[in-house]
Amino acid sequence: MAASRGWRLIRHGRCWLSQAEFSGAPGPPDSLYPPIVASATAKSKAAKRRRLEHFHQRVHEAASIEEKLRLYGLLQRPKYMVYPQTFAINADRWYQSFTKTVFVPGLPPRAAPEAARAPEPAAAAPEAAAGAAARVPGAAAPEAAAGAAARVPGAAAPEAAAEAAPDLDLGELRSLACDALLQESFYQNKKRPFLYRDQDHTPGPFLTQLISSLAALLCGRNPLLAASSLDLNPEVNYYWHHGEEVVVHGHRKGRVDPVRFQIDDHPHLQIRVPKQLPEVVPLESDLGDVPVIDHKPSKLPLFKKQYENKVFIGSKVADPCCYGHTQFHLIPDKLKRQRFLEANLEDQIEVTYRANGIASLFAWTAAQAMYQGFWNEADVTRPFVSQAVVTDGKYFALFCYQLNTLALTVETIQNNPRKNICWGTDSEPLYDVVEDGDVKGFNDEILLQLVQFLLNRPKEL
C-alpha cells in the first residue's frame, strides 16, 4: 500500500515523463513495428532532446492561450528578478543585452502621410494623402514607413507638427495641464508627505488627473481611445529565457541551464486598446547594435529567486483590449534627481529613465505577443508596438518600443537576425516652477508630444 502511494506521488510530480504520453504517432501503415526513436527517460543527450521536443509539441498544440501560458511557465527554477526601476549603474546597457534591444535616441521619424496632411507647401504626397485628408486633421501619428514611397525630407516634419498644433487648440490643452498641476500642488490643502512618499503625494495624482482628462478630451479625435481601457496601478509580468549558464552549487551542480528572467512591473497608469498600433519600421530592420556583455547578470547586481512564472499584460486573456497603447511610469523616491545630483552621478539620471522604458516596454509587448499565441519557438509574425512615458512629476521622457522577436533562447537566437527596437528621448521638464497659483516656464513641446502619443492609432481608424 505504501509502495502504491509512493508511486502516485512520483507520478503526480513528474507525470509528463510517463511512457504513455510519449507513445506518439504510429509508424507508416505498411510497417509492423513502431518507429525507432530515442528513449524518453534515459540519461542521454538524445533523450533530453526528445523530452524537450515533446514539451515544445505540447505547448504548440495547447488548446487555449491560458493553457499555453500555463505550460510555458510550468517548471519553476531560480530566476533573475529584473526591476525596471533600478539604481544599478549602467543598467540600460545590461537590459538591452538581456532583451536584444537596439536603443535609438529620439522618437521615431514622422512618416510621409502625416506631412501630406499639412497644407500645400509639403512635398508631393502619395495617394495616401487623399485618404489621410478625409481623416480628422491634425492627428499626428508616428506611422509606418512602409507606405513612404515619397519620402518627405526631415525639414517638412517640424512644419507639419507646427501646423498641426493650431488644429489641436494648444491653449485648451495647456490650461487643462496647468489646472491639474495647480489643483494638486497649490489649491488642494495637503499635509506634509510622509517620509519617502513624495511621489505619491503630488506627482502621482497629478499624472493620473492629467492623463485621464487628456484621454477623455482626445476621445473625439481618436476613436481608439474611446474604445480603450485605462488601468490604474496595473501589474505587468513577463518570464523569458536568454543565454546559458552552468549551475554553480546545489544538487544540480554542473548542468547547463538557460538563464531565466522575470519582470514584475507596476506602471502608474496604462492604456490598453482593442486594436494594435501600426508598425514603425519593417520587421527585419536593423537600426543599430545590441550591446554584448559577457559577464553573468549577477554582476549588475541582479538577484535570483524562485516563484511563479507569470505572464500578464494587465488584464486576462479574454479581455477584448488585449493590445497595449501607452504606459505611464512614475519614478520612485529612491531614484529622484536630487539624490543622483548629490552623489555626483548626473549621467545615471538618464540611465534610470532608459532602463525603465526598455524593461517595462519589453515586458508589456512580449506579454501582448504571448497573449496572441506567439512564444520563443513560434516567433512573432507581425511587430508589436507600444509607447511609454517615464516621469518624476516634472521631467518627462517618452519611449516607443517595437517588438520584432521573442526568440531569445540559446537555440532560437542563433539564426535570428531580428532585433527589438526602442526609441527614447532624454527627460525634459514640463514646467519650471509652480508658485503663487501660477505655472512658470510651461513647455508646450512636451505636452504636444504627449498628445501625439495619445493620438497614435492604426491606419484604418
Binding site: I89, I293, H295, K296, K299, P301, N344, L345
Partner: protein, 128 residues
C-alpha cells in the same frame, strides 16, 4: 584593505578588495575617495565564511578566518584590471660554453666568500 585578484571575472569597472570585518560600505567609499582620490560610484560587500573542516596534527578542527570582500564600482568611466604580478621572465637564448659557466660560478663563489664590503674587511663573527 587590500586589492585582490577576483576569483570569477568581474566587469571592467569593478575592483575587488579584502577589507577588515568592521569596515562598512560608507567607510570604504570615503577611504578610497579621500586617501587615494579614486572616484567610487557604488560599493557592495559580503562576508566570506572561512572553512572550519581542516584538521591539524591533533585532529582538532582548525578554522580559516572569516573576511569581508568589497566590490567597488569606479566612476568617470575608469576601469581596473588586476595586474599580473609574476610575469614570465624571458630566457636569453645565447649560446654559452662550459668555460663561461665555470667562470661565472667561480665569480659568484668568490663574491660569497668576500663578505659585506661595508664592514671593511672585518670578519662576520666579530661583534662588540
Amino acid at each position: 584593505m587590500a586589492a585582490v585578484r577576483p576569483g570569477v571575472p568581474q566587469p571592467a569597472d569593478t575592483a575587488q578588495f579584502r577589507v577588515s570585518m568592521e569596515m562598512t560600505k560608507v567607510d570604504i567609499k570615503n577611504y578610497l575617495e579621500k586617501i587615494y582620490n579614486v572616484p567610487v560610484v557604488a560599493v557592495r560587500t559580503r562576508i566570506q565564511h572561512g572553512a572550519h573542516n581542516r584538521r591539524n596534527h591533533k585532529n582538532q578542527r582548525v578554522k580559516k578566518p572569516d573576511y569581508k570582500v568589497a566590490y567597488v564600482q569606479l566612476g568617470q568611466g575608469q576601469t581596473f584590471q588586476f595586474p599580473n604580478l609574476f610575469p614570465e621572465k624571458e630566457q636569453t637564448p645565447e649560446a654559452r660554453s662550459f668555460d663561461d659557466f665555470k667562470n661565472k660560478y667561480l665569480e659568484e663563489e668568490a663574491q660569497r666568500q668576500r663578505g659585506d664590503p661595508r664592514r671593511g674587511g672585518v670578519p662576520d663573527w666579530f661583534g662588540l
